[in-house]
């Protein structure tokens, strides 16, 4: 094949590449806004699911903050996939405010001792240290056994609502371990991991209470 042929072939390849890239870029531009809106809606649905309805009048998604000491919540630093970062909410927590007073915070939490890998949770805690809600955002537990932690599969996860470090004081474990929380038939490891992670999140809130519920950032948020 002489040089001319090579150049023609290369030009052809380049031409097709340009057309392909153009096609993708056009679609991307056309769908960008909708995709961003979708993602925000999903995020808002997730966050508001763990907050008490009516206990806030702000947009918690816009009122996000970088977590202090994220490793204390089980979040893994270092190498992360896009999906893991997404499930960990990019190490961001959210504040719910009523009349500018922080009424609750929502934290991404990881239960590392799941049956098959990490279980990502969102935990909402109010200023008095009571849980306003817990939801699983990502897990790989066995379908039909461990996946009962999903709110769509069973009511188990709703049992955390209203609990705090003092309630139950000594019962923060599954029944099999002498605690107050049910395990599932055939699956103890999954609920045990979730109970521990939620308890851990409560301790975290107690430790960082001042930073979490301070309202100094208020002005910045209002300006946005």
């Amino acid at each position: 094949m002489d040089l001319r042929q090579i150049v023609i072939t290369a030009a052809l390849l380049a031409g097709f590449t340009a057309v392909g890239v153009g096609l993708v870029a056009l679609t991307q531009q056309g769908t960008e806004e909708r995709i961003a809106a979708n993602e925000k809606a999903i995020m808002l649905a997730r966050v508001s699911a763990v907050l008490t309805p009516g206990s806030y009048d702000n947009d918690p998604i816009a009122d996000h903050f970088d977590l202090m000491a994220p490793e204390e919540l089980g979040l893994r630093l270092g190498l992360r996939t896009e999906a893991q970062t997404e499930a960990a909410h990019g190490f961001q927590g959210y504040r719910a405010r009523l009349a500018n007073q922080v009424t609750a915070v929502v934290l991404p939490v990881v239960a590392r001792e799941g049956y098959s890998g990490d279980i990502n949770l969102l935990v909402g805690v109010d200023a008095e240290g009571h849980i306003t809600g817990v939801r699983v955002t990502r897990h790989r537990e066995t379908p039909g056994l461990g996946d009962l932690i999903e709110a769509s599969k069973s009511d188990w996860i709703l049992g955390f609502t209203g609990k705090s470090l003092d309630n139950p004081k000594n019962g923060w474990a599954v029944r099999k371990d002498g605690g107050e929380f049910d395990q599932f038939t055939g699956a103890t490891i999954t609920p045990r991991a979730v109970v521990r992670a939620v308890y851990n999140a409560l301790q975290y809130v107690q430790r960082h209470h001042a930073e979490l519920f301070e309202t100094e950032q208020l002005k910045e948020v209002a300006d946005e």
């Binding site: 390849l13 991307q28 999903i42 066995t142």
Partner: protein, 232 residues
Amino acid sequence: MSDVKLGNLARDGLWKNNPALVQILGLCPLLAISNTTINALGLALATLAAVLLSNILVSLIRHWVRPEVRLPIFVLVIASVVTTIELIMNAFFHELFLVLGIFIPLIVTNCFIIARAESFASRHRVSLAAWDGLMMGLGFGLVLIVMGAMRELVGFGTLLANAEQLFGPIAHNWTIYVLPEETGFLLAILPPGAFMALALLIALKQAIDRRLKEKAAARVQLSVTTKQPART
């Protein structure tokens, strides 16, 4: 080239040369995403759109593509088409997009799509290539949906659960509860269930083929015997 018949193409795609049951291509999404009917339907539609569009585009450009670089160009065409589909699904079927996850971009690597581009679309005119893409995509998609329905029925005892992910809010109560709750057979949803369901479908297809062949043979024999009456 002009002797390709539409009926034959349809028969090839849907039955005789079915991508999933006979060519056994594209198993990765087939096995992974066939755990519920709606997941299967979503991926089936995405795959159908991908093979249809890629066949049309490959056929359109077949006179310009040089043989030395044809494979990179086919891959480029397929990748562009799939990325476009991915973005559109992300925008309009966001929940389903989240469920199907990595398997939408993985359609690019579904070998039956590039197999159709190389062996058919690059050698035939656009209308035939489109028809072939449609039939092959339907053949693959139907197997996917049947497997999804089988596994969902046995595993969860339901059909069409989560239909709202694909059809919007009107589909909220489309779920059909076939078996009483919590009687599902877990194995069907787990990965081994996918292999078993596929094996059952392949076996079923072969059984039907054999039955048809025997019938045809019997008919031939019958006509032979009636033509030549016994000489005894």
